[in-house]
């Protein structure tokens, strides 16, 4: 166990608010530039511009699953509480982006395919991932004991992350009618450029969000530990 210090030391460093401001400025700029400069798509018109949000947020969803995997493995290996809190933060952020991806996909699907939902491979596997995230987060919500919560959710996080490629493969075999992934050489180079810029913008936002959620969780835990130290009679 780490030594308990009183009073609660706020882990906030001055860099992070600046990083957050930078992330959001970068996001606004690259979104604005992408929407203004990109030409309307031949088939889809302005609808295509939703891709600048949809595609990066799908990438971020996958990335956060990977982050959950890494921190869960590191938690079981080194048993540092911070890794557990980071995994949980990444899962929360990942679930948010996952939900965003699904909603945007449906918004795009309605005018394109004429339906809100279709059992297409990528859409369906994104939904399954969302359900796995929900399972992970509900497990955390149902357990109060910190070590138990950390170990159990690490196990669930690792199994869930490993299942991601298997789910994707199985759903793709099951059915594919998603548009074939555009390879960058056949589309407007500007589109590719701004897609990449926006992917980085989302990445920065994701890192900032995870950091914020982590700090909140850390402060909560420190407050708990401080209360414990008081209960122990300031040993």
């Amino acid at each position: 166990m780490t030594a308990v210090t009183l009073p609660v030391a706020l882990p906030r460093t001055s860099r992070w608010p600046w990083f957050g401001a930078f992330a959001f400025l970068f996001l606004i700029t690259s979104q604005a530039l992408a929407i203004i400069t990109s030409p309307a798509d031949r088939d889809m018109g302005d609808l295509q511009k939703i891709m600048y949000v949809h595609v990066p947020s799908a990438w971020i969803t996958m990335l956060s699953f990977f982050v959950v995997l890494v921190f869960s493995v590191r938690y079981l290996w080194q048993r540092r509480e911070n890794d557990d809190l980071l995994a949980a933060s990444a899962a929360e952020v990942g679930a948010t982006f996952n939900g965003l991806t699904l909603v945007l996909g449906m918004l795009w699907g309605r005018p394109t395919w004429g339906v809100w939902w279709t059992w297409d491979a990528r859409l369906t596997s994104t939904l399954v991932l969302f359900l796995i995230f929900v399972g992970y987060l509900s497990l955390r919500a149902f357990i109060d004991e910190p070590v138990r919560r950390a170990q159990w959710s690490a196990a669930v996080g690792i199994l869930g992350a490993i299942n991601v490629p298997i789910v994707y493969l199985s759903v793709r075999w099951w059915r594919t009618l998603h548009q074939v992934q555009s390879s960058p050489s056949t589309v407007d180079p500007l589109y590719v450029l701004f897609l990449r810029a926006n992917a980085f913008a989302f990445l920065f936002v994701m890192i900032y969000f995870i950091r914020q959620r982590y700090e909140a969780a850390r402060i909560e835990r420190d407050a708990e530990l401080a209360a414990q130290a008081v209960a122990l009679g300031g040993r």
């Binding site: 399972g135 690490a154 199994l159 759903v171 075999w173």
Partner: protein, 228 residues
């Protein structure tokens, strides 16, 4: 000690679980009855058109096994929790994975037996004829059950000891089961339809890979979920 002691533990746990289960017969029969009830409800939902029933038979069968199976997995740990036996079990020493393997084998036997009953009733209710490639079909069923029982036994170790265990287990388990469900249903369907496209082989390879991956990972991770 060593390997033979581990094997002794695995056998003891599987034997103990199955003996207790055999003596309290009510458990098995009620779970099997639930599986049949679900099949009947599917019949009402999808019938009475015979062709529609036949097409949906495989999916209905698998879902019936899924839902009835979920009850099995929590029960498997309830035996340990009832009289504080889990503490005693954890104090015997040796690798904790042996507890998992033992329970896995017992649950496997239990779900397989249930599957046989549900399968026979389902074949009658949905008017399914046994396909020529029935040995392959049996292999598909076995692979699917292994996947279900592996993850079910693993997640139940957590769910059975948490609040809201009735909802937590299916919430964790079912999304993870999507590849098994798809592969088992598609492979079974292909086999019922003479499998002209040779699809079943690909799905079976997916099932084998899934089972292997999760058998290994659950055995490695079990220690972390049972000890706290």
């Amino acid at each position: 000690m060593g390997r033979s002691a581990d094997w002794g533990r695995i056998r003891a746990i599987a034997w103990k679980d199955l003996t207790a289960e055999r003596r309290s017969k009510a458990g098995f029969y009620s779970v099997a009855a639930l599986g049949i009830t679900i099949l009947v409800l599917f019949g009402f939902a999808l019938g009475p058109d015979t062709r529609a029933l036949r097409d949906a038979a495989v999916g209905a069968l698998w879902l019936a096994v899924f839902f009835a199976g979920v009850l099995t997995f929590n029960r498997s740990y309830q035996v340990e929790l009832d009289s504080g036996a889990l503490d005693t079990l954890l104090l015997y020493g040796g690798g904790r994975w042996t507890i998992f393997t033992g329970k896995l084998l017992a649950n496997l036997a239990f779900v397989m037996m249930m599957l046989v009953i549900v399968l026979i009733v389902g074949a009658v209710l949905f008017q399914v004829e046994v396909p020529a490639q029935w040995p392959t079909l049996l292999a598909v069923l076995a692979l699917g059950v292994i996947g279900l029982v592996t993850l079910g036994t693993f997640y139940a170790a957590m769910a059975s000891r948490s609040r809201a265990r009735e909802v937590l287990l299916p919430l964790l388990l079912f999304p993870m089961m999507v590849p098994v469900l798809l592969a088992a249903i598609q492979a079974s369907k292909a086999l019922f339809g003479a499998d002209l496209m040779q699809e079943s082989g690909a799905w079976m390879r997916l099932l084998v890979a899934y089972d292997l991956v999760f058998l290994i990972i659950t055995h490695l991770a079990f220690e972390y979920v049972i000890e706290v």
